[in-house]
Protein backbone atom coordinates (compact mmCIF):
# COMPACT_ATOMS: atom_id res chain seq x y z
CA UNK A 1 0.00 0.00 0.00
CA UNK A 2 1.47 3.31 -1.04
CA UNK A 3 1.39 6.27 1.34
CA UNK A 4 -1.12 8.11 -0.85
CA UNK A 5 -3.46 5.13 -0.71
CA UNK A 6 -2.97 5.02 3.05
CA UNK A 7 -4.10 8.67 3.28
CA UNK A 8 -7.18 7.79 1.24
CA UNK A 9 -7.90 4.90 3.60
CA UNK A 10 -7.54 7.20 6.63
CA UNK A 11 -10.11 9.38 4.87
CA UNK A 12 -12.41 6.34 4.66
CA UNK A 13 -11.99 5.75 8.40
CA UNK A 14 -12.76 9.43 9.10
CA UNK A 15 -15.91 9.11 6.97
CA UNK A 16 -17.00 6.08 9.02
CA UNK A 17 -16.26 7.83 12.33
CA UNK A 18 -18.13 10.94 11.23
CA UNK A 19 -21.14 8.87 10.18
CA UNK A 20 -21.11 7.07 13.55
CA UNK A 21 -21.09 10.35 15.44
CA UNK A 22 -23.70 11.86 13.19
CA UNK A 23 -26.17 9.04 13.86
CA UNK A 24 -25.34 8.60 17.53
CA UNK A 25 -25.42 12.16 18.85
CA UNK A 26 -28.53 14.26 19.09
CA UNK A 27 -26.90 17.52 20.14
CA UNK A 28 -26.77 19.70 17.04
CA UNK A 29 -23.24 20.98 17.69
CA UNK A 30 -21.91 17.43 17.93
CA UNK A 31 -23.76 16.56 14.74
CA UNK A 32 -22.16 19.53 12.99
CA UNK A 33 -18.72 18.41 14.18
CA UNK A 34 -19.37 14.84 13.02
CA UNK A 35 -20.53 16.13 9.65
CA UNK A 36 -17.32 18.16 9.32
CA UNK A 37 -15.23 15.08 10.13
CA UNK A 38 -17.08 13.22 7.37
CA UNK A 39 -16.33 16.07 5.00
CA UNK A 40 -12.62 16.06 5.88
CA UNK A 41 -12.59 12.31 5.24
CA UNK A 42 -13.99 12.76 1.75
CA UNK A 43 -11.41 15.47 1.02
CA UNK A 44 -8.64 13.08 2.08
CA UNK A 45 -10.05 10.33 -0.14
CA UNK A 46 -10.14 12.72 -3.10
CA UNK A 47 -6.57 13.97 -2.69
CA UNK A 48 -5.11 10.62 -1.61
CA UNK A 49 -6.62 8.60 -4.44
CA UNK A 50 -5.57 11.13 -7.07
CA UNK A 51 -1.98 11.12 -5.85
CA UNK A 52 -1.67 7.35 -5.80
CA UNK A 53 1.21 6.29 -8.03
CA UNK A 54 1.70 9.45 -10.05
CA UNK A 55 2.44 12.32 -7.70
CA UNK A 56 0.50 15.47 -6.94
CA UNK A 57 -2.49 16.15 -9.15
CA UNK A 58 -3.49 19.85 -9.13
CA UNK A 59 -7.06 19.28 -10.35
CA UNK A 60 -8.39 17.38 -7.30
CA UNK A 61 -6.32 19.65 -5.06
CA UNK A 62 -8.09 22.70 -6.48
CA UNK A 63 -11.39 20.84 -6.16
CA UNK A 64 -10.71 20.11 -2.49
CA UNK A 65 -9.66 23.72 -1.88
CA UNK A 66 -13.01 24.80 -3.30
CA UNK A 67 -14.70 22.18 -1.14
CA UNK A 68 -12.97 23.41 2.01
CA UNK A 69 -14.19 26.96 1.44
CA UNK A 70 -17.74 25.73 0.82
CA UNK A 71 -17.50 23.57 3.97
CA UNK A 72 -16.36 26.59 6.01
CA UNK A 73 -19.24 28.67 4.66
CA UNK A 74 -21.82 25.98 5.34
CA UNK A 75 -20.45 25.30 8.84
CA UNK A 76 -20.59 29.00 9.69
CA UNK A 77 -24.14 29.22 8.37
CA UNK A 78 -25.10 26.12 10.34
CA UNK A 79 -23.68 27.73 13.51
CA UNK A 80 -25.66 30.91 12.88
CA UNK A 81 -28.86 28.88 12.42
CA UNK A 82 -28.03 26.70 15.44
CA UNK A 83 -27.55 29.62 17.78
CA UNK A 84 -30.66 31.32 16.46
CA UNK A 85 -32.57 28.09 17.10
CA UNK A 86 -31.22 27.99 20.65
CA UNK A 87 -32.26 31.59 21.23
CA UNK A 88 -35.78 30.93 19.97
CA UNK A 89 -36.49 27.52 21.47
CA UNK A 90 -33.99 27.02 24.28
CA UNK A 91 -33.15 23.62 22.88
CA UNK A 92 -29.86 22.47 21.40
CA UNK A 93 -31.45 19.55 19.59
CA UNK A 94 -34.21 19.09 17.07
CA UNK A 95 -37.82 18.79 18.30
CA UNK A 96 -38.17 15.16 17.22
CA UNK A 97 -35.01 14.22 19.14
CA UNK A 98 -35.92 15.79 22.48
Amino acid sequence: MSSALFYAWVGVVLCGLGLFGFILHRHLMRRLLAFNIMGSGSFMILVGLAQDGRGADPVPQALVLTGIVVAVASTALALVILRRWYRVSGESRLPEDV
Partner: protein, 232 residues
Amino acid sequence: MSRKLLAALLSLTVTLALSLALIDRPLPTEDLPARVGQAMQSSGVAHPVTAVLLNFRSYDTLLEVGVLLIAVVVALALREAQPDGPDRMGLDNPLLRAITAWLMPLMLMVSGYLLWAGSTRPGGAFQAGAVLAACGVLLRLCGTGLSWLEQPWRLRAGLALGPLVFLAAGTATMLAGASFLAYPEPLAGSLILFIELNLMVSIALALISLFRLAPPQSDSPHFADRRRSRRE
Protein backbone atom coordinates in the same frame (compact mmCIF):
# COMPACT_ATOMS: atom_id res chain seq x y z
CA MET B 1 -31.49 -2.93 19.01
CA SER B 2 -29.86 -0.04 20.73
CA ARG B 3 -29.09 3.13 18.83
CA LYS B 4 -25.38 2.90 19.52
CA LEU B 5 -25.09 -0.63 18.14
CA LEU B 6 -27.09 0.28 15.05
CA ALA B 7 -24.91 3.35 14.41
CA ALA B 8 -21.74 1.29 14.89
CA LEU B 9 -22.97 -1.42 12.50
CA LEU B 10 -23.98 1.07 9.83
CA SER B 11 -20.77 3.08 9.98
CA LEU B 12 -18.64 -0.10 10.00
CA THR B 13 -20.47 -1.33 6.92
CA VAL B 14 -19.91 1.99 5.15
CA THR B 15 -16.22 1.96 6.13
CA LEU B 16 -15.77 -1.59 4.86
CA ALA B 17 -17.60 -0.86 1.61
CA LEU B 18 -15.51 2.25 1.02
CA SER B 19 -12.31 0.33 1.81
CA LEU B 20 -13.26 -2.35 -0.71
CA ALA B 21 -14.02 0.33 -3.28
CA LEU B 22 -10.60 1.84 -2.55
CA ILE B 23 -8.83 -1.49 -3.14
CA ASP B 24 -10.83 -2.33 -6.25
CA ARG B 25 -10.72 1.11 -7.83
CA PRO B 26 -10.70 1.79 -11.57
CA LEU B 27 -7.49 3.27 -12.95
CA PRO B 28 -7.70 6.86 -14.16
CA THR B 29 -8.28 7.02 -17.90
CA GLU B 30 -6.94 10.53 -18.31
CA ASP B 31 -3.58 11.87 -17.17
CA LEU B 32 -4.77 15.17 -15.68
CA PRO B 33 -1.39 16.33 -14.24
CA ALA B 34 0.17 16.02 -17.71
CA ARG B 35 -2.67 17.97 -19.32
CA VAL B 36 -2.36 20.71 -16.71
CA GLY B 37 1.40 20.75 -17.27
CA GLN B 38 0.90 21.22 -21.01
CA ALA B 39 -1.54 24.07 -20.55
CA MET B 40 0.53 25.86 -17.88
CA GLN B 41 2.23 28.02 -20.54
CA SER B 42 -1.01 29.80 -21.42
CA SER B 43 -2.37 30.11 -17.87
CA GLY B 44 -0.55 33.29 -16.84
CA VAL B 45 0.58 31.87 -13.46
CA ALA B 46 3.32 29.45 -12.45
CA HIS B 47 1.55 27.42 -9.76
CA PRO B 48 -0.65 24.59 -11.11
CA VAL B 49 -3.30 24.74 -8.34
CA THR B 50 -3.81 28.49 -8.88
CA ALA B 51 -3.93 27.89 -12.63
CA VAL B 52 -6.67 25.27 -12.19
CA LEU B 53 -8.59 27.39 -9.66
CA LEU B 54 -8.59 30.69 -11.51
CA ASN B 55 -8.05 29.81 -15.14
CA PHE B 56 -8.86 26.27 -16.27
CA ARG B 57 -11.76 25.76 -13.90
CA SER B 58 -12.54 29.33 -12.88
CA TYR B 59 -16.23 28.59 -13.28
CA ASP B 60 -16.02 26.45 -10.11
CA THR B 61 -14.37 29.30 -8.23
CA LEU B 62 -17.03 31.76 -9.38
CA LEU B 63 -19.81 29.48 -8.14
CA GLU B 64 -17.92 28.87 -4.89
CA VAL B 65 -17.83 32.60 -4.19
CA GLY B 66 -21.54 32.55 -4.99
CA VAL B 67 -22.05 29.88 -2.31
CA LEU B 68 -20.21 32.05 0.24
CA LEU B 69 -22.37 35.02 -0.72
CA ILE B 70 -25.58 32.98 -0.37
CA ALA B 71 -24.48 31.83 3.11
CA VAL B 72 -23.99 35.46 4.15
CA VAL B 73 -27.35 36.48 2.65
CA VAL B 74 -29.15 33.73 4.60
CA ALA B 75 -27.30 34.70 7.80
CA LEU B 76 -28.26 38.36 7.20
CA ALA B 77 -31.88 37.32 6.77
CA LEU B 78 -31.76 35.37 10.06
CA ARG B 79 -30.13 38.09 12.15
CA GLU B 80 -32.08 39.81 14.86
CA ALA B 81 -32.18 43.41 15.88
CA GLN B 82 -29.54 43.54 18.56
CA PRO B 83 -27.30 46.27 19.86
CA ASP B 84 -23.74 45.57 18.76
CA GLY B 85 -21.78 47.41 21.39
CA PRO B 86 -18.28 46.55 22.62
CA ASP B 87 -19.73 44.82 25.68
CA ARG B 88 -21.27 42.21 23.43
CA MET B 89 -18.12 41.43 21.51
CA GLY B 90 -16.09 39.55 24.01
CA LEU B 91 -12.97 40.38 25.96
CA ASP B 92 -12.20 44.05 26.31
CA ASN B 93 -8.72 43.69 27.73
CA PRO B 94 -5.93 46.29 27.49
CA LEU B 95 -3.25 43.61 27.20
CA LEU B 96 -5.11 41.98 24.34
CA ARG B 97 -5.37 45.34 22.62
CA ALA B 98 -1.64 45.98 22.95
CA ILE B 99 -0.78 42.57 21.51
CA THR B 100 -3.28 43.06 18.70
CA ALA B 101 -1.65 46.36 17.81
CA TRP B 102 1.59 44.43 17.34
CA LEU B 103 0.03 41.51 15.51
CA MET B 104 -2.28 43.36 13.16
CA PRO B 105 0.34 44.79 10.74
CA LEU B 106 2.03 41.39 10.59
CA MET B 107 -1.23 39.66 9.79
CA LEU B 108 -2.06 42.19 7.08
CA MET B 109 1.40 41.68 5.61
CA VAL B 110 1.02 37.88 5.63
CA SER B 111 -2.33 38.26 3.91
CA GLY B 112 -0.83 40.44 1.18
CA TYR B 113 2.09 38.07 0.78
CA LEU B 114 -0.21 35.04 0.43
CA LEU B 115 -2.16 36.82 -2.28
CA TRP B 116 1.01 37.74 -4.17
CA ALA B 117 2.62 34.32 -3.69
CA GLY B 118 -0.41 32.54 -5.14
CA SER B 119 0.90 32.87 -8.67
CA THR B 120 4.14 30.97 -8.04
CA ARG B 121 3.60 28.81 -4.93
CA PRO B 122 0.83 27.69 -2.56
CA GLY B 123 -1.30 30.69 -1.62
CA GLY B 124 -3.97 32.76 -3.27
CA ALA B 125 -7.19 34.61 -2.68
CA PHE B 126 -8.79 32.15 -0.29
CA GLN B 127 -5.83 31.80 2.01
CA ALA B 128 -5.25 35.56 2.00
CA GLY B 129 -8.95 36.16 2.61
CA ALA B 130 -8.93 33.72 5.52
CA VAL B 131 -6.00 35.55 7.18
CA LEU B 132 -7.74 38.87 6.60
CA ALA B 133 -10.92 37.47 8.14
CA ALA B 134 -8.88 36.27 11.12
CA CYS B 135 -7.74 39.90 11.57
CA GLY B 136 -11.37 40.99 11.69
CA VAL B 137 -12.35 38.25 14.13
CA LEU B 138 -9.41 39.11 16.39
CA LEU B 139 -10.32 42.81 16.34
CA ARG B 140 -13.88 41.95 17.26
CA LEU B 141 -12.88 39.59 20.05
CA CYS B 142 -10.75 42.22 21.74
CA GLY B 143 -13.57 44.71 21.60
CA THR B 144 -12.08 47.07 19.03
CA GLY B 145 -14.87 46.35 16.61
CA LEU B 146 -15.15 47.25 12.97
CA SER B 147 -17.21 50.41 13.02
CA TRP B 148 -16.93 51.00 9.29
CA LEU B 149 -18.81 47.75 8.71
CA GLU B 150 -21.84 49.08 10.58
CA GLN B 151 -22.91 50.94 7.45
CA PRO B 152 -24.97 48.31 5.60
CA TRP B 153 -24.17 49.59 2.11
CA ARG B 154 -20.42 49.38 2.74
CA LEU B 155 -20.66 45.76 3.83
CA ARG B 156 -22.88 44.86 0.89
CA ALA B 157 -20.66 46.66 -1.61
CA GLY B 158 -17.59 44.86 -0.24
CA LEU B 159 -19.35 41.51 -0.36
CA ALA B 160 -20.45 42.03 -3.96
CA LEU B 161 -17.10 43.39 -5.15
CA GLY B 162 -15.36 40.04 -5.75
CA PRO B 163 -18.14 38.20 -7.61
CA LEU B 164 -18.93 41.32 -9.65
CA VAL B 165 -15.31 41.80 -10.77
CA PHE B 166 -15.11 38.08 -11.53
CA LEU B 167 -18.31 38.21 -13.61
CA ALA B 168 -17.19 41.40 -15.35
CA ALA B 169 -13.87 39.79 -16.31
CA GLY B 170 -15.70 36.72 -17.62
CA THR B 171 -18.15 38.81 -19.62
CA ALA B 172 -15.41 41.06 -20.99
CA THR B 173 -13.69 38.03 -22.53
CA MET B 174 -17.01 37.14 -24.15
CA LEU B 175 -17.28 40.64 -25.62
CA ALA B 176 -13.77 40.20 -27.02
CA GLY B 177 -14.95 37.09 -28.87
CA ALA B 178 -13.62 34.32 -26.63
CA SER B 179 -15.79 32.10 -24.46
CA PHE B 180 -16.91 32.93 -20.89
CA LEU B 181 -13.94 33.31 -18.50
CA ALA B 182 -11.36 32.43 -21.20
CA TYR B 183 -8.71 35.03 -20.44
CA PRO B 184 -6.50 36.29 -23.28
CA GLU B 185 -3.01 34.86 -22.86
CA PRO B 186 -0.91 38.03 -22.50
CA LEU B 187 -3.31 39.54 -19.93
CA ALA B 188 -4.07 36.36 -17.98
CA GLY B 189 -1.52 36.85 -15.19
CA SER B 190 -2.49 40.41 -14.25
CA LEU B 191 -6.18 39.67 -14.74
CA ILE B 192 -5.97 36.72 -12.32
CA LEU B 193 -4.14 38.84 -9.73
CA PHE B 194 -6.74 41.60 -10.03
CA ILE B 195 -9.64 39.14 -9.66
CA GLU B 196 -7.91 37.51 -6.69
CA LEU B 197 -7.42 40.89 -4.99
CA ASN B 198 -11.14 41.64 -5.16
CA LEU B 199 -12.06 38.08 -4.24
CA MET B 200 -9.86 38.35 -1.15
CA VAL B 201 -11.81 41.39 0.09
CA SER B 202 -15.17 39.70 -0.50
CA ILE B 203 -14.14 36.39 1.08
CA ALA B 204 -12.74 38.11 4.17
CA LEU B 205 -15.87 40.23 4.55
CA ALA B 206 -18.10 37.18 4.10
CA LEU B 207 -16.29 35.24 6.81
CA ILE B 208 -16.23 38.23 9.19
CA SER B 209 -19.92 38.92 8.73
CA LEU B 210 -20.81 35.25 9.26
CA PHE B 211 -18.91 35.50 12.55
CA ARG B 212 -20.64 38.75 13.51
CA LEU B 213 -24.12 37.55 12.63
CA ALA B 214 -24.19 34.63 15.06
CA PRO B 215 -26.36 35.75 17.99
CA PRO B 216 -24.26 36.59 21.06
CA GLN B 217 -23.59 33.85 23.52
CA SER B 218 -24.00 35.62 26.84
CA ASP B 219 -27.77 35.98 26.98
CA SER B 220 -30.40 33.40 27.66
CA PRO B 221 -33.06 32.31 25.16
CA HIS B 222 -35.99 34.61 24.56
CA PHE B 223 -38.68 32.18 25.55
CA ALA B 224 -37.62 30.82 28.89
CA ASP B 225 -40.98 29.09 29.36
CA ARG B 226 -40.34 26.84 26.38
CA ARG B 227 -37.23 25.55 27.99
CA ARG B 228 -37.39 22.07 29.35
CA SER B 229 -37.16 21.84 33.09
CA ARG B 230 -35.49 18.46 32.81
CA ARG B 231 -32.01 18.56 31.30
CA GLU B 232 -30.60 15.34 30.06
